[in-house]
């Protein structure tokens, strides 16, 4: 049973985020030794997840849930089965070692605290991805891993290459994440549940859904971008710009496997179809070969490892894609082995780089006697990577060959696997032999063994690879077979043996792989030249394509912005009023609801007269030649409106309007006499014609809208309410005043505040002047 109960897992999930918050402070006081203290948190999480193992090996699963947004089926729920628990163990376990390693690697770095903080944020996010039960929760964590990966790759943000790689990783994995979200939501609605634990029991519902292809493409896009499958593989080697602890942790052992995790997770409901068994093995196989071939090309040890990681991910996707139980068991063992040996090898390369000052294949050699522990870790891990006994990598290769050999199109997939593994063998040999054996080469720094913090991780993982090989039967029963069962959706438990018990085809394939690998290793230098020449001949790759696509997007956005936003106020105003004219007329045209023509009613002569004054006033303002005339005419128009208020039962409005108009005229006169109002309009006759038509159109539209409104029956509810209660409740006889100060008193407070703020703003505008003002106008007017 779990150590502290299933609910304690929530604390294990929270732990890394707490550590992220603590890191900067601890690193400030304890320097690199803070790593020792901080590593306790992932170690505790590891123990918590480890306590589930016996139960899960017996076929149990564990669930717990906290409500988040239940109305949208979003819960903070966790689901632990063989698949998620092994991933969680790898993340927290390797995370513990990486924390130590980071402390040693960035010893003395001023931003160590920040770095550890990002690293823990990632750890928390990644644990969330693999234990999340709710698909929305999973997606949130998924994107969080992309973001933290961005932060970590761009850690050395003063270098352009770092920034580029960070952006690239974010765009590729984040973009895939969006596809994944759509896919998961679609799957959730089709499958009837947003909880993976329920969705996985829905049987053939998704496979028979008409949206199966859409779900498949979206989910696979998310997985392929995250797990760097061809043609999205290019971001992963670029991500090696990050400090080595990041490469070891995110870009080999954990995050890049999130895509594989997703495919494995969804296998019970999406797998085992013709589409699945075609697309996945083909892309996986191509990725395997492309990764290894590009790996041969490299001389930078870290890049060699990066490309073999791409290849290994391809292999995992290919195996998952076969939907064959034994092949999937092979994938599980390989995934486990890969996390151990690749994490270890990255740390080894980082240590070599850190201690000798270079990680170029041709500039290191004979380091074994100087760095015996690191060298041992390198040899053990490389043996596992090469698939040699007695390491766990050997078992993985045996089982996966056994699996692929018996599937549909097995010859093809086996061919891919043998070729890929042979090249992987050669590359493993290169990584282990080149730096540590042979003649001593003078390195930029005098090499010596790394500190405890630096070597603890790599040697632990390497020895674990050896131990896992030795105890493969119980490791298989406790950890690996439960994971295979979870992927398959049916119990699977075949005993694993370190050494083959009979002469199977897999053994012959293994021998062929080794033979081929040795040949490739011998001709490595020649092959490197050939691959380099071939790549130069092609000259274009998805990496360049990424830049081109980005440039096209940016240029398009710029052109679009410049077209839409010309910077000319006149254009903006014309566009605005054109839209208003459309809004006014389109509904009337579409619905045919034109206002009815009615008689204008009977008016007294003086009412006509006042209306005429208003109209004439406006017309005169338009045509005024001098600014004083314009101001006076504006006042006339305003007074005419005030008279209208007076005649139609609104004395309060009339008085206010009189006052405001008077003030407006005074202020206008004050300001405008200082402005230079040219008599000419400065508009071309065509522009004038357009503006006149536009304003007449808008005016006519508003007229007709108002006509339509007043032709509707009047709803006097509110007016009656105010009239009725004005005296009885609010004790006032002037209803308009009562509304203003009583019923809607807060509105009036708001209005007063607006006036006050405006007053302050006016004051500020007038009084605040730039200190050094060479503008002659302002001098003149002061």
């Amino acid at each position: 049973m779990p150590l502290f109960g299933v609910e304690a897992t929530f604390w294990a999930l929270l732990g890394p985020f707490v550590a992220a918050a603590l890191s900067p402070f601890l690193a400030k006081t304890l320097k690199h030794n803070a790593a020792w203290l901080l590593a306790v948190i992932p170690a505790l999480a590891f123990l918590q997840f480890l306590s589930f193992v016996p139960g899960i090996a017996e076929g149990q699963t564990f669930k717990a849930s906290l409500e988040w947004v239940p109305t949208f089926n979003v819960n903070f729920s966790i689901y632990l089965d063989g698949l998620s628990v092994l991933f969680a163990l790898l993340i927290s376990g390797i995370g513990t070692l990486i924390t130590l390693y980071a402390g040693g690697y960035l010893k003395g770095h001023e931003n160590l605290g920040q770095f550890l903080s990002y690293l823990f944020l990632f750890m928390g996010a990644m644990l969330g991805v693999v234990v999340a039960d709710n698909v929305i929760t999973l997606f949130v964590y998924w994107e969080l891993t992309s973001i933290t990966s961005f932060l970590l790759i761009g850690f050395d943000h003063l270098r352009r290459a770092s920034r580029r790689s960070a952006v690239q990783a974010l765009v590729v994995t984040g973009g895939g994440g969006l596809a994944l979200m759509a896919g998961l939501i679609l799957a959730g609605y089709q499958g009837g549940s947003f909880e993976l634990s329920e969705l996985l029991n829905s049987g053939d519902v998704l496979r028979e859904s008409p949206y199966y292809t859409a779900i498949f493409i979206l989910v696979v896009l998310g997985a392929f971008t995250k797990s760097a499958q061809f043609p999205f593989h290019f971001w992963l080697p670029n991500a090696m710009e990050a400090p080595t602890p990041v490469s070891a942790y995110l870009h080999s052992a954990t995050m890049v496997k999130a895509g594989v995790y997703l495919l494995m997770r969804m296998h019970p409901v999406l797998g085992d179809t013709e589409l699945w068994m075609t697309v996945l093995p083909i892309f996986g196989g191509i990725t395997l070969l492309v990764g290894t071939i590009l790996g041969i090309r490299q001389t930078d040890l870290k890049l060699v490892l990066a490309y073999t990681t791409v290849a290994s991910l391809g292999l995992l996707v290919m195996l998952t894609g076969t939907s064959d139980p034994v092949a999937i068991q092979g994938a599980v063992i390989y995934l486990f082995a890969h996390s151990l040996f690749k994490g270890s090898l990255f740390m080894v390369v980082g240590t070599v780089d850190h201690e000798s000052g270079t990680r170029d294949l041709n500039r290191v050699g004979g380091l074994f006697s100087l760095m015996p522990i690191t060298g041992t870790a390198a040899v053990l891990s490389a043996l596992s990577m090469a698939g040699l006994p007695p390491l766990v990598g050997f078992v993985a290769k045996e089982v996966l060959y056994d699996g692929t050999w018996h599937t549909v199109n097995g010859e093809l997939w086996t061919g891919f696997a043998v070729l890929g593994n042979a090249m992987m063998f050669a590359l493993a040999a290169t990584v282990a032999i080149k730096p540590f054996f042979g003649a001593k080469v003078k390195t930029p720094k005098v090499a010596h063994e790394g500190t405890v913090l630096l070597i603890a991780g790599s040697i632990t993982l390497a020895v674990l690879g050896l131990a896992a090989g030795a105890f493969i039967a119980s490791v298989g029963h406790q950890l690996l077979s439960p994971m295979t069962s979870a992927i398959l959706g049916v119990p699977f438990d075949e005993e694993l043996h370190l050494f083959p018990t009979y002469l199977s085809p897999a053994l012959y394939l293994s021998l062929a792989t080794i033979a081929l690998g040795i040949i490739i290793f011998m001709y490595m230098d020649k092959l490197r030249v050939i691959v380099a020449d071939a790549l130069r001949a092609i000259g274009w790759g998805p990496d360049k394509g990424f830049d081109q696509v980005l440039e096209i997007i940016i240029r398009f956005a710029t052109t679009l912005t410049q077209t839409v936003q010309t910077g000319s106020m006149v254009t903006y105003m014309r566009a605005t009023f054109t839209v208003i004219a459309f809004i006014l007329f389109v509904p009337m045209i579409l619905t045919g609801n034109w206002p009815k023509l009615q008689g204008i009613g009977s008016f007294y002569a003086y009412e006509w007269f006042i209306a005429a004054i208003a109209v004439i006033g406006v017309y005169a303002v338009l045509t005024a030649r001098y600014r004083v005339t314009a101001i006076v005419l504006l006042g006339i128009q305003g007074f005419a409106v005030a008279l209208i208020y007076l005649l139609f039962g609104a004395p309060d409005l009339a008085f206010t309007q009189f006052m405001v108009e008077t003030l407006s005229v005074v202020i206008l006169a004050l300001v405008m006499t200082r402005l230079n109002l040219k008599p000419t309009d400065a508009r071309s006759s065509r522009g004038k014609a357009f503006d006149i038509s536009l304003s007449v159109l808008c005016g006519a539209g508003i007229s007709m809208l108002l006509m339509s409104i007043v032709q509707l029956p009047f709803d006097p509810t509110l007016s009656e309410f105010f009239t009725q209660y004005s005296r009885t409740i609010a004790h006032g006889r002037n209803i308009v005043n009562v509304i203003l100060v009583d019923f809607r008193g807060f509105d009036t407070i708001g209005e007063i505040s607006v006036v006050m703020v405006t007053g302050l703003a006016v004051l500020a505008l007038i009084r605040v002047r730039p200190k050094s003002n060479g503008n002659s106008n302002s001098e003149k007017n002061r």
């Binding site: 208003a614 303002v621 402005l675 508003i702 007229s703």
Partner: protein, 125 residues
């Protein structure tokens, strides 16, 4: 009766919009002043018109004795008049200061925020 007022409101709007479409700061300010009146009159008219009788309750009564003008739009317009006045005052001073700082009252020359020359988009990382 409201029909005539609708036409009047439309004319005020048309005049104000024509001024707003101008290039010259001063004409735009005049347009804003007229726009305020146009909108107020629109609200007033939409609340229906009643001649002569203001919404005031006689001294000895608790309710108006005859049909009065609609008090609601009056209350709204009263607020609006004051707000549009502050608006106008602010814009006047803003326009005045802009003229002082930039030395022009032509909108096409006021291009500090959106300069005429387009710069290259940021293509690097």
């Amino acid at each position: 009766m409201e029909t005539l007022f609708s036409v009047l409101v439309g004319i005020l709007f048309a005049g104000s919009i024509y001024l707003l479409l101008s290039r010259k700061l001063v004409r735009i300010l005049l347009g804003i002043a007229i726009l305020g009146n146009a909108v107020n009159l629109l609200i007033f008219t939409a609340g229906r018109l009643t001649r002569d009788v203001p919404p005031i309750i006689p001294l000895k009564s608790y309710l108006p004795v005859e049909a009065t003008a609609n008090p609601l739009p009056q209350a709204l317009v009263l607020t609006a008049i004051v707000i549009s006045f502050s608006f106008l005052a602010f814009f006047l001073v803003l326009g005045y200061r802009a003229y002082q700082e930039l030395g022009t009252d032509d909108l096409l020359d006021m291009r500090v925020a959106e300069p005429k020359e387009h710069s290259e988009p940021p293509l690097g990382y």
